[in-house]
């Protein structure tokens, strides 16, 4: 299924950071939504800022418009405030994109665990993300760092505990 671009993508003003505050808010909301859905569609978990500027998300060759570096930073900052983005370095050149927040992943995983009556069982992380049983689930193929975050979120809620084992980490659900 090919990615469906939102109507704003072909609207030239979308690529200019709007000075009117109200207009800008709507514009940024649209950008955040676009960036996240694009990452979700392509299962992208990290972004490099330099590369992003050339990526089709921020660069519409058809109408010859692209977001300036300054504007991209503004969009990223907006995502960070919402909890969907985390900077990997101080220079803000690479970031983690959480088109689903850890809490949301945690909830999905726990739902699957409880649906299958596997509460109180122990899983390795690998089993969860790459096991045969989880094939078809949305969280299948989740990158380890993201999985860990999600489980940490569950842990905070008291619904799981991360355990260190000989050959890696595992988790027990309550």
């Amino acid at each position: 299924m090919s990615f469906e671009w939102p109507w704003q993508y072909n609207f030239p003003p979308f690529f200019t950071l709007q000075p009117n505050v109200d207009t800008r808010q709507k514009q940024l909301a649209a950008w955040c939504s676009l960036a996240l859905s694009y990452c979700r569609h392509h299962k992208l978990y990290t972004l490099d800022v330099m590369e992003a500027q050339e990526s089709p998300v921020f660069n519409n060759k058809k109408i010859e418009r692209k977001l300036s570096m300054e504007a991209i930073q503004v969009v990223f900052e907006e995502l960070r405030k919402k909890g969907n983005l985390e900077w990997l370095d101080k220079n803000k050149s690479r970031c983690l994109v959480m088109w689903r927040r850890p809490e949301e992943w945690g909830k999905l995983i726990y739902q699957w665990v409880s649906k299958n009556g596997m509460v109180n069982s122990v899983f390795t992380l690998y089993e969860l993300s790459n096991g045969d049983d989880t094939e078809g689930e949305e969280f299948h193929g989740l990158e380890e760092w993201m999985l860990l975050r999600s489980l940490q979120a569950l842990q905070t809620e008291g619904r799981a505990e991360i355990i260190t084992m000989d050959d890696g980490k595992g988790v027990k659900f309550f």
Binding site: P12, P13, F15, T16, N20, T23, A30, R65
Partner: protein
């Protein structure tokens, strides 16, 4: 009239000219003096009179001679006068036109008006008595035969010199600056009168002095020069003058456009930007149908009071929607407005949220706000 002494009419170092009025005839008491029409000059120290036909005929009297003075209203065929009552002449008085007089008063008859202002200034000077602070010696009378050329050059250079000195004093003392302006005004009047003391070149030079001192309008008919009164008159004049041009241009003109239009129409008595601005600021208080308006960017416009902003913005939105998108230049061409004003209107529509912008290497375009 025996209190007067011959004089060369030159002002001393600390003496300042306060006011001058031409068309003044002198009376010895109730009798017409043998001195016909001339220019009466009031300085901080003296009352001077110079014959209009014969410039070398010039007499002066210290203000300290004056006991008191009063106005005498004019009538049919009679000019208004100021009657000046005098102390007896001191023993060491320099010779003058009259050796002796049976009267202790003189009259100044104002054939060309100006007595109100003269009277006012005389009152001021007699109250302040500035001559007591900076006494000057009696100028040495030059008799009746100085070379015409030399008098002219000396006179002008003397005044020029005084201008220079005044300039330096202005830096230290604000009250000195006031005197400076008085002097310039009197010179301006002199230019206007064209008494032959000043040549064409010098006239131009003086005008440039005046401009550099900030008196852009040297020929002022008001007794209160460039005051609020002047701006009020100007505002009313603008109110009449600008109605038609404004309507032609859709109800709004940039202040710079107004400046050019008005000065081109005036031709001679050009307005300074400050005067135009001050006059425009008075539109509202004078209840004229015009308004001065300042945009966020600092651009100032004059617009008809009937001009409705909402209508303008609504029509701007229509225009832009119609064409899909517009640049300021395209919009200007469409409406027949200047690019500056068309941009302001688009920016205002953007500020209201009706338009959004597309800023790229191709330029700045405005679109309807679809967000």
């Amino acid at each position: 009239m025996d209190r007067f002494s011959w004089s060369n009419g030159l002002l001393e170092i600390d003496e300042t000219l306060v006011i001058q009025q031409r068309g003044v005839r002198l009376y010895d008491g109730d009798d017409k003096a043998k001195l016909d029409l001339g220019v009466a000059l009031l300085s901080t120290h003296r009352l001077i009179w110079r014959d209009v036909k014969n410039h070398e005929c010039c007499i002066a009297m210290p203000l300290s001679q004056i006991i008191f003075f009063e106005e005498q209203a004019g009538g049919i065929g009679k000019s208004a006068k100021i009657v000046v009552h005098l102390h007896p002449a001191p023993a060491n008085k320099e010779p003058g036109p009259y050796q002796h007089s049976k009267y202790s008063f003189i009259k100044l008859s104002f054939k060309e008006h100006g007595q109100i202002e003269f009277h006012r200034r005389l009152t001021e000077e007699m109250t302040q008595k500035r001559w007591e602070n900076t006494p000057v010696s009696q100028p040495i009378p030059t008799g009746t035969g100085p070379q015409a050329g030399r008098t002219r050059a000396v006179g002008i250079v003397g005044i020029e010199r005084k201008i220079e000195e005044r300039r330096k004093e202005t830096d230290k003392n604000i009250s000195e600056a006031k005197e400076m302006v008085e002097l310039s005004r009197s010179i301006a009047n002199k230019i206007k009168d064209k008494q032959g003391d000043i040549t064409e070149d010098e006239t131009i030079r003086f005008k440039s002095y005046l401009l550099s001192m900030g008196i852009a309008n040297p020929v002022t008919r008001e007794t209160h020069g460039s005051g609020t009164h002047y701006h009020m008159q100007l505002a009313k004049q603008l109110g009449d003058m600008l109605q038609a041009p404004l309507e032609e241009r859709g109800g709004m003109m940039a202040l710079t456009e107004v400046y050019c239009l008005v000065n081109r129409a005036r031709g001679m008595e050009l307005l300074s930007p400050e005067d135009l601005l001050n006059a425009c600021k008075m539109f509202e208080s004078l209840k004229l149908p015009l308004r001065l308006r300042v945009f966020d960017s600092g651009v100032m416009v004059v617009q008809l009071q009937s001009h409705s902003e909402e209508e303008m913005i609504a029509s701007a939105l229509d225009n832009v929607s119609d064409k899909g998108s517009l640049t300021a230049e395209e919009f200007a061409k469409l409406l027949g407005l200047s690019v500056l004003l068309s941009k302001e209107r688009l920016l205002l529509a953007e500020k209201m949220g009706h338009l959004c912008r597309d800023d790229s290497v191709e330029g700045l375009r405005f679109y309807p706000n679809l967000f």
